[in-house]
């Protein structure tokens, strides 16, 4: 298992044989699937498929726990938005009234539908981040002829984020070395003290920006002028080539997406009222 700026990736994985563009294509297209699917059942199936893909790709499942807070906070925000902050709807079926707040079946159902749309999107992103190094993203973008300057700015943003994290670690260690230990303190205290971190971090970031710019100039890079018009060779792309299975995967993802659209809009599949899971829940709460 290797640490990346974006998560953890396995040391060895069959997915490394796949061209980075295919992984990016999977992310971009498959994360659209839930937008056309209202019934949570299908979205749960999609999540199971993604978990299977992670397992095949030898992703260390224990590292995925870093994403659990994201899933929980998303779920909480959605549930609160649809129920506590969902307003009064006399036309909906009232299930319960707690502390003056009305809990309607329709609002809970809608919250579930939205949550089970968001979750597969998160799963798709997690799958991508757990199988792709930063370089893969850059290669994927360059392989579809995204302008160099765009991919480079993206890479610099990733690099800068990594540097800020490293600097944050240094500042934290420096604070700890001077006896600052937030363990066991209140959240308000921690927030107050974390603001303290921001001052040196901000100063460091300014210095880094200057050094970073100097490093770019020293490497002969210029956004404008004669040098910026030099025809660039893309050496990194020479390490990557499309194999026959890359085309198969791209075709499969595309066909799956087209089929989804046909079934959704041609035959009316994936609707809320077709969900057996919601029917089961409905009968359980009534």
């Amino acid at each position: 298992m290797n640490k990346t700026l974006l998560g953890y990736v396995p040391n060895e994985s069959p997915i490394y044989a796949v061209h980075p563009f295919v992984k990016l294509y999977f992310l971009l297209v498959v994360s659209l699937f839930p937008m056309f699917v209202s019934a949570p059942d299908w979205n749960i199936i999609l999540m199971v498929v993604i978990i299977l893909l992670m397992w095949i790709s030898k992703v260390n499942m224990s590292t995925l726990k870093i994403y659990i807070p994201v899933a929980i906070s998303m779920g909480t925000i959605i549930f609160l938005s649809y129920t506590v902050l969902g307003g009064t709807h006399p036309e909906f079926e009232l299930l319960a009234r707690i502390w003056g707040i009305n809990f309607y079946w329709e609002r809970i159902r809608d919250a579930l539908v939205v949550y089970f749309r968001v979750l597969p999107m998160i799963f798709t992103m997690v799958f991508f981040l757990s199988t792709s190094r930063e370089r893969d993203i850059i290669v994927a973008m360059r392989s579809i002829k995204v302008p160099f300057v765009v991919t480079y700015i993206f890479a610099m943003a990733l690099r800068s984020a990594g540097m800020v994290l490293e600097d944050f670690g240094i500042v934290r260690q420096a604070e700890k070395a001077r006896g600052f230990d937030p363990a066991g303190k209140s959240i308000a205290y921690k927030i107050r003290q974390y603001v303290m971190y921001m001052v040196p971090l901000f100063a460091l970031s300014l210095r880094r920006s200057e050094e970073f710019t100097n490093a770019l100039v020293a490497r002969g890079y210029a956004f404008t002028g004669k040098v910026s018009r030099v025809k660039r060779a893309d050496y990194i792309l020479t390490h990557y080539s499309y194999k026959y299975f890359d085309y198969i995967f791209i075709a499969l993802i595309t066909i799956a997406f087209i089929a989804l659209l046909v079934y959704r809009y041609g035959y009316g599949y994936f609707q809320v009222d077709q969900s057996w899971l919601l029917r089961l829940l409905r009968s359980w709460v009534s």
Binding site: L5, A215, V217, A218
Partner: protein, 285 residues
């Protein structure tokens, strides 16, 4: 043999905006092609600004007031197009962390070469050359945050070398490194001196590795160039160096102290090994 002057600095003064004193004042300096020059001096003496001035980062990237002239290959630095001067002058900075602009060592090494428009074949050839020279072949796929400080500095050096600049400036390249990593950087510089005809300027506080390689030395103090001479006569003026806050290597200092006490009158040895030899000869007398 005709040796051309590739760096000519005349009556050069540079003052950063919003500062009261110039960072460099009335500098006159000529450096010939193929020289290996060491630059020493206390912090704030203007060493980095001098390096930046030769690479065009000053005044290109900084606001300030310039007087006098800084010519590289006979042309004023401001007269070069953006990125053009950097193909001739390569700079390695002191903080290896801040020099990484890419996501893997290999990306970092090829970035500069792509910038100057080299072909894939040329990039491949230079990449092989530079990774062998700097012993980085096994790190090519590593991201920057997974390698040590010494390795990062070698990557920074290799990234600049791969662009094959005529002039190479290293600004305190080993200030954040342990003695082993420091030795490896100077090993690369020794190879460059031996095998290539680069002009190399090294700003450095740690002199043990630098002195045996340097043909000339420069002492900077309080924004001024105080002394510029061949390495041996330069260190014969150890008294002045000490007064200006620059400390000669231990072996030299030892013989300087002997000289101060009237026990030794000859040339100071440049290395510890040279010092040991000299001491043995003296003891034998």
């Amino acid at each position: 043999m005709h040796v051309s002057k590739i760096i000519e600095v005349q009556d050069y003064t540079w003052k950063y905006i919003n500062t009261s004193v110039p960072a460099l004042a009335e500098i006159n300096l000529t450096i010939e092609e193929g020289s290996f020059v060491g630059v020493i001096g206390p912090n704030g003496a203007g060493k980095t600004t001098l390096a930046f001035s030769i690479d065009g980062l000053v005044p290109g990237q900084y606001n300030g007031v310039k007087k006098g002239s800084v010519k590289v290959f006979g042309k004023e630095v401001e007269d070069y197009d953006k990125g053009e001067l950097q193909q001739l002058v390569g700079v390695v900075f002191s903080d290896p962390e801040a020099q990484f602009t890419a996501m893997t060592v290999e990306d970092e090494l090829v970035f500069g070469m792509e910038n100057i428009g080299l072909s894939l074949a040329e990039i491949k050839e230079r990449l092989e050359w530079v990774t062998e020279l700097t012993e980085l072949s096994n790190l090519l796929m590593k991201p920057p945050y997974e390698i040590s400080g010494g390795q990062k500095q070698r990557v920074a050096l290799a990234a600049v070398l791969a662009m094959r600049p005529k002039i190479l400036i290293l600004d305190e390249p080993t200030s954040m490194l342990d003695p082993v990593s420091r030795g490896r950087i100077f090993k690369v510089l020794a190879k460059l001196k031996e095998e290539e005809n680069n002009t190399i300027i090294v700003i450095e506080h740690s002199l043990e590795n630098l002195v045996p390689l340097a043909d000339q030395m420069i002492l900077m103090s309080e924004s001024k160039l105080v002394l510029h001479d061949k390495t041996q006569p330069f260190f014969q003026q150890s008294k002045m160096l000490l007064e200006k806050g620059a400390f000669p290597p231990g072996a030299m200092l030892f013989f300087h102290l002997l000289h101060e006490r009237g026990l030794y009158q000859g040339e100071y040895p440049l290395t510890v090994a040279g010092g040991a030899e000299l001491l043995r000869d003296l003891m034998g007398k």
